[in-house]
């Protein structure tokens, strides 16, 4: 349904603009009728990838700590704290980004601070609870017998975690990462607030970026005519990208299993 609707609303743009130019051109000048979205695709991709690269190890470390290492008391404090992170509205993350991270990033990398680097950090924190909670479930549901027999063979706890528990939980962990990925690709508000939203391909960490979502949200309120149609087709592209990502990760995880 959603697919059809977005497709129907967005398709007419291709009567005005060549598909390849739409996807791979770099000029986004709505006032002159130039609708080329490559910078946003790259932006979305870069922002998501960076957030995953920062967020996943952190989240996995937290999950391992919670499921395997933390004593009961620490668990009782940390787990609700992580779950709380998931409940914070994304605008608040945006505030946090603007007030705290933007000045810091500006100091370290130069520039205004509204940048790719800031977006990465904010998004990484946002996907942390998703990946952590689902991975923790996966790790906790590995049969205790695996752990016991590994330890009984004289493996240390760390060896057991690396060689037995994590591989056994890998399906669940991959699912967790896919869901985190989904959240990162689709996130709009927080990234819009900290990314700087310049419609160009970033060349360094301190550059501003736009993502498909942020441009759609920013422009939709006033866009009309072709501009609006272009936004719908960006939505379509976004939808396709997230589906491709999910399929890609699934494919890899299945192949690894076989």
């Amino acid at each position: 349904m959603i697919f059809l609707f977005v497709g129907f609303k967005g398709f007419p743009i291709f009567q005005k603009v060549d598909l390849l130019e739409f996807l791979f051109g770099t000029n986004w000048i709505p006032s002159k009728g130039k609708f080329e979205i490559f910078p946003f695709i790259v932006g979305s991709f870069l922002v998501t990838l960076g957030a995953l690269l920062i967020g996943t190890p952190l989240a996995l470390a937290t999950a391992i700590f919670l499921a395997e290492i933390a004593p009961l008391k620490a668990k009782k404090i940390i787990r609700p704290a992580v779950e709380l992170l998931a409940g914070i509205p994304s605008v608040i993350y945006g505030f946090f980004g603007i007030v705290i991270l933007v000045p810091i990033v500006s100091k370290i990398f130069g520039g205004s601070g509204f940048s790719l680097a800031t977006g990465w950090i904010v998004l990484a924190i946002m996907i942390l609870p998703t990946i952590t909670t689902i991975s923790e479930d996966a790790i906790s549901s590995v049969p205790k017998g695996f752990k016991m027999s590994s330890m009984a063979l004289g493996a240390t706890h760390w060896q057991t975690i690396w060689k037995i528990i994590l591989p056994a939980a890998s399906q669940g962990i991959i699912t967790a990462i896919i869901l985190g990925l989904g959240r990162a690709v689709g996130e709009t508000m927080a990234v819009l607030m900290v990314l700087g939203n310049s419609p160009v391909i970033p060349t360094s960490l301190k550059d501003g970026v736009s993502t498909l979502t942020s441009i759609i949200a920013l422009d939709m309120s006033y866009a009309s005519g072709d501009h609006q149609v272009a936004l719908f087709s960006m939505g379509l592209v976004l939808l396709l990208i997230s589906m491709l990502l999910v399929a890609f990760v699934r494919f890899f995880s299945l192949r690894k299993r076989a």
């Binding site: 063979l153 004289g154 037995i164």
Partner: protein, 258 residues
């Protein structure tokens, strides 16, 4: 004189505030099979787990008294617990091979103890499987998932996995309670073979099994519900089953309770 492998002195054991074992003193002979019998839940498995410090993995447990393995206090600060567990292997009630291939299951132990050479690993895997009387059955499917084996084969695989790390003692926690009679027969034959080279301590609530496989039998009993288990009688299996000195042992053996 028979060599003593484990010397246990005045062992008390608590789960939180619940005292599970009281004042257990026992010498376990090398290259013999020693069986622990007693009603379900009387602390036989708890005792077994004291011998390779697997109880350390359960939170809020406490132990008093001394356990010496070849004269060395295994609860002293200098003991390397991982190495202790390598020396004192353990077979669990439910066969629990890791979710990997047959080969990888057996090679896991040697690998975590630092053996990397492929040829050496191949040798260990073959030798261990052979000693566990499984080689002939699996030599053509070393690289199939271990979980595709039958229950009895899986249990023998677990034995091979323990043999691969070259232990001195093998603890067996009701190793046959989850498998069929034919496989039980095979494992009992195997126990008979293995005692040439290893000290075997087996927990079972199948008295016939204790009578068949063991050289010595220890009878544990908690006289009050919620009270600690004590060592009631310990003697050669023949004496325990034909001429027990303690009335309670006799009652248990003859099936008057438990």
């Amino acid at each position: 004189m028979v060599k003593v492998t484990f010397k246990v002195q005045n062992l008390d054991f608590w789960y939180g505030t619940f005292k599970a074992l009281e004042n257990i003193t026992i010498d376990i002979s090398a290259n013999k099979v020693t069986a622990f019998i007693g009603p379900s839940g009387c602390g036989k498995s708890t005792f077994l787990r004291c011998l390779n410090r697997m109880n350390d993995l359960i939170e809020e447990t406490r132990i008093e008294g001394k356990i010496f393995l070849d004269g060395e206090d295994i609860y002293s600060g200098e003991v390397n617990v991982a190495d202790l567990r390598r020396r004192v292997g353990m077979i669990f009630q439910h066969p629990n091979p890791f979710p990997m291939s047959v080969y990888e299951n057996v090679a896991y132990g040697p690998r975590i103890h630092g053996i990397k050479d492929k040829k050496r690993l191949d040798e260990i895997v073959e030798k261990s499987l052979d000693k566990a009387a499984l080689w002939k059955e699996v030599k053509d499917k070393l690289h199939t998932p271990a979980l595709s084996l039958s229950g009895g084969q899986q249990q023998r695989l677990c034995i091979a996995r323990v043999l691969a790390v070259n232990p001195e003692v093998i603890l067996m926690d009701e190793p046959c309670s989850a498998i069929d009679p034919t496989s039980t027969q095979k494992i009992e034959d195997l126990i008979d073979e293995l005692k040439q080279s290893y000290t075997i301590i087996i927990v079972t609530h199948n008295m016939m099994q204790a009578a068949r496989v063991s050289d010595f039998t220890a009878f544990l009993l908690a006289e009050n519900t919620n009270g600690p288990a004590k060592l009631i009688e310990y003697d050669s299996t023949e004496v325990i089953f034909t001429n027990p000195k303690d009335k309670r042992t006799e009652n248990y053996i003859t099936g008057r309770f438990g």
